[in-house]
Symmetry: C2
Subunit: 446 residues, 2 copies
């Protein structure tokens, strides 16, 4: 299932490794982000359970293998390779940083150690699923920060990059601090709280706005939130008030949200509806919300769609997955790439987090004793088996909230600080290994 | 399957329509884009088959219904509604503009006429799947245009917004003019040609670059494309040449692509390898590619990943789905939204295309006789049944190529022209209907 959801070169390389007798070698790959995206000061990990689910279900169906065999790229490949593919299951070890952890460039967030072919094949899917959820969790954290005391709900499925993308965005946005989502499947499948009451089509489907409000109130009772901007927002507010209790809130979806929210608040307060909340939607993002927060707009809930579900100001993360070790016949090689602008460091790593800085070390180095530190990469799978159930979306969200609370204030800005206040250092042992590998490669390739 | 992949308010409204006895009413909704996104002069339709597949498979599973019933939002809803949901299948009519058609704002690209609840529920999924593929097909067309005589391959799955997004992007990019994709599933499922040979991890997994090249050549024969920038690009090119034929090409993935492509071309030509092609990858997009094309860089194939699969400079389309008609007991109402900045026009429509302009009319108006025109919206489903198989991705790509060829040159610019050369006009009948509906609504809502 989903085994073909990968890049073709993963499969041609797999065939090549097999033909070269390298499929018994054991590879270690690390997944990390090279640079912080535009206006981001940290990113928030998400997507680990979906990555693990994929690894646990990885298998090629007979009709998929038959289709591959017929490709010209595989015309020289021996039949044994396709038998190998048919039997292939993920049998490796996986280490991951728990969901909801703020991380920085060049820190591995997932380590895969597995037979070379298995470890190679899974690159594309792992990058897509972890990269995307991490992108959205990071975006959500910014929006939630900008909203201050107000809450944020994710409303973006319709503008997400396909239906599954909407589902994953809903989950990741919840981890990043949203109180919930409009995506019902995310509620059903991941337990994310679901929000939403009515659209303009509801209002338009009745012969008058007031009639549509009356029916909504009958349906939803104390959960009723009226969408009041279909014709005239203040008139809409008056009609909502005229129906009396029960009422939970009103939603504004167009116009000047600052002025309208104040005018509607005044109408609600004058009617004694101090507890009735105002929700705002309409092309929102962290930049617009922070202005409304700064101006003390009386908005209790922001519904954010397109810009959240697509991380519109920075729609990709640039995650990569790089070979760092290769073991064959009890010999181990450390690998790295030293081409012009794309430098990676060799060897499996660990990330130790101190209160306000990180140390990236070789995986075998002991926990530092110079100060309290935490090892961020934790064992997740061993020999293809999940070690223990992963935290669910609620737990990941709680982890994120705790972690973000501890971050220096400058990192929570919507803009990059002059000087990034979080130091990421490399251990002496890792730097020495790096120098050694670089020296050896120079020798080999002159 | 996928019935819960919708916004909660679609389901609360469905319950409300049911309780109000409105589920026998028949609604017509139109899907369209309000404005052209940043730097886009037209967009290219894609995603219709996935939308139709969703409609044909729409159904609620018993455990989904049980979960919904337990939500507080449905506590007041009668049991009959859930029986209705359990039996619900899509039974409506659908009209769509074929994939690969250039279209403009406010032109409906999909019309759904169905019992109100069915038509409402499907909004979210339809927007996500058609909106996304249309976004990517449009982006691909720009990149293909920028590449001139060179070919473009889609390589973006790893940076797409989740794995399914990568699959749909591959399909849409092919329709938009790419020659293929790296996404194997897109080859298996949609017949998109697949491309790709090896990555840096391949080179690094062997003890030397030359050794890795040798094994690649054995594997791929005349299909061999070497990735030559792992250590030093020109050295890599020399090693590739030293292995002689068979060889198809070399790939550059870092550095100054203009200078490196010229230097590598010179080495290849000096060795008599005039037919060996250079492929370039590395954070490409239409803006960088048009510079390389203008400078006559000797690059035959561009592999474009992140920026294509995420439409990075304009990562959302802003498609909407609006109620335009509602029929009950043989009375028909035309509906529209006239709130401040979001104006829609009432009534089911047709789009007539003349050589260089469009006329948006009421659906019942006859084909104009003043000049040759084509009706863009075609019947696709009738009473829940597909009328005839839809064109596949190959046919849609051919349609797109023909259509783009006919577009005025100014529309193919990477930037918006001063004056948009394609006129979209509204028929007199549509404008009169619009005025009438607006007048009536004013009356109802004073």
């Amino acid at each position: 299932m989903n085994a073909l959801l990968t890049d073709l070169y993963q499969l041609t390389m797999a065939a090549g490794y097999f033909e070269a007798g390298k499929h018994h070698e054991v590879a270690t790959f690390e997944l990390f982000v090279r640079r912080l995206p535009y206006n981001r000061n940290y990113y928030l990990t998400a997507g680990l359970p979906q990555a693990i689910e994929y690894l646990r279900n990885l298998r090629f169906e007979p009709e998929e293998i038959a289709w591959l065999r017929a490709l010209p790229q595989f015309s020289r490949v021996s039949p044994e390779f396709f038998t190998y593919l048919a039997d292939l299951r993920f049998s490796g070890d996986v280490f991951g940083i728990p969901e909801g952890t703020p991380v920085f460039p060049n820190e591995p967030i997932l380590t895969v150690r597995a037979p070379l072919i298995e470890a190679q094949l899974v690159e594309t899917y792992l990058l897509a699923t972890i990269g995307f959820q991490t992108l959205i969790a990071s975006k959500a954290a910014r929006i939630v920060e900008a909203a201050g005391a107000a809450s944020v709900v994710e409303f973006g499925t319709r503008r997400a990059h396909g239906p599954e993308s909407g589902l994953l965005a809903a989950r990741a946005a919840y981890i990043g601090g949203c109180i919930g989502t409009s995506n019902v499947e995310a509620g059903f499948r991941f337990g994310v709280p679901v929000y939403g009451t009515s659209a303009h089509s509801w209002v338009m489907s009745f012969s008058s706005e007031l009639d549509s409000f009356r029916h909504l109130q009958q349906l939803l009772g104390e959960g009723t939130t009226y969408l009041i901007d279909s014709y005239d927002t203040l008139e809409g507010a008056r009609k909502a008030i005229s129906l009396g209790r029960p009422i939970a809130g009103v939603r504004l979806d167009s116009g000047n949200l600052f002025e309208l929210s104040r005018a509607v608040r005044a109408l609600l307060d004058a009617a004694g509806f101090h507890d009735v909340t105002i929700m705002a939607t309409s092309d929102l993002n962290e930049y617009r919300i922070v202005e409304l927060t700064a101006a003390a707009a009386p908005i209790a809930i922001y519904g954010v769609g397109t810009d959240l579900a697509t991380s519109a100001d920075s729609p990709s993360l640039g995650a990569v997955y790089k070979l760092v070790e290769l073991e064959s016949n009890s010999a181990k090689r450390y690998t790295a790439k030293y081409s012009e602008e794309k430098h990676t460091r060799p060897g499996a790593k660990q990330v130790f987090r101190y209160g306000n800085r990180d140390l990236v070390s070789c995986a075998w180095e002991a926990l530092p004793t110079d100060a309290p530190a935490e090892a961020l990469l934790r064992p997740v799978m061993s020999q293809g088996q999940l070690l223990e159930p992963l935290p669910d979306a609620h737990q990941a969200r709680a982890t994120a909230r705790e972690n973000i609370k501890k971050l220096p204030h400058a990192l929570k800005s919507l803009y990059a600080p002059e000087e990034h206040p979080w130091r990421v250092e490399y251990s002496k042992e890792l730097l020495a290994l790096d120098a050694r590998v670089r020296q050896n490669l120079r020798g080999d390739n002159q």
